[in-house]
Symmetry: C2
Subunit: 231 residues, 2 copies
Amino acid sequence: MISVLLIGNGNVATHLKKAFLNANTVTVTQISSRKLKNVPKADVTIIAVSDDAIAEVSAKINNDFVVHTSGACPKNDLKNNSRKGVFYMLQTFSKDKIVDFNKVPFCLEADTKKDYLLLSNLAKSIGKDVYKIDSIQRKKLHVSAVFVNNFTNHLFKIGHDICTANNIPFQILQPLIQETVTKLETLSPEQAQTGPAIRNDKTTIKNHLELLNEHQQNIYKTITKSIQNGN
Amino acid sequence: MISVLLIGNGNVATHLKKAFLNANTVTVTQISSRKLKNVPKADVTIIAVSDDAIAEVSAKINNDFVVHTSGACPKNDLKNNSRKGVFYMLQTFSKDKIVDFNKVPFCLEADTKKDYLLLSNLAKSIGKDVYKIDSIQRKKLHVSAVFVNNFTNHLFKIGHDICTANNIPFQILQPLIQETVTKLETLSPEQAQTGPAIRNDKTTIKNHLELLNEHQQNIYKTITKSIQNGN
């Protein structure tokens, strides 16, 4: 049995609590980060608070093994005087949407093999995909996630804007969007690249630019150049 | 029964032929665009050739109703002296991959209601999602597709590059990528936007930029600015 103390009230803490409650090998307690008196003991204390608050909250915790859940912060942002680790889940969590932890990659870091194994067992009590990721790798992973999630979503927004302005239902684009992702199962993104940029089809590029506003043109040109340069 | 003549030997013609052969209400003949003598008659003649060749090939066809399959070309690029239309499928076709036409949006255009209905029946013989899209809308749709498909894929490539350079398996990012797309079923891209750009989290943005090379920084800055400006 692994005892877990969850600190925090946000989406990550809420979804984790729900999952741990269903796990046979875990007991879980949750407290607010504003009530850090008489903190219960636990095998693993998971601080699931905003990045800015990790140092302050962890400094107040006397438990043996304290981990945070942030993709952007190094392990040593933790200021507890005991063992440290990271329990980062690379997924977006929405408040009202059920999380399938079998599709969540757990990116784990600890000081010792024994602690890593503990985090790994904890992750496998609710999910299956566990990766050993150190603080430098995690920073890189976090910025990669911005490209493939936040920035990709913004390209979807531009597609949505163009459709809306021309009375085209955005759903027309959804099978293509899904296929763009499905292709990654068999091809690298580099192998999967198609379109006027990689073909250097100057006529189509010129025609496309004429259809766009200045802001859209700016993004179109920047990404087209990057595709052509192989960046 | 609808008789179809397919002109062309590329991916689109090949996949369409296979699908029409399985349709109960369609008969299909395929010829090369290089052999335009004694062209067989048909209810619908589908020219599935490269954009540059549409005018030349269509000028040589005397059949009654001729359509092209291009997203980038207006209907009037067809130079036949009879009825014209467009049978554009908004999807990427790979040579070796089976196409599920039930997930292909058919974007149709014709001069008359009767011809539109003919194209619609033809599309529904192999698929289900049919949209009436005129030449102006189709141009806009085509440029939108570049954003959501080609450009998105390039962002995946950048994520892939960062992972590879840091010994991180790219597959860690795939559940997040899939979730980015799945969210579009319930939220608009604007509603779904998260991350440091929309939060204007200057510390994280600064930290991210320090991890990137000059080309990646350029894209990071351009898209971050666009997200923040709501473009």
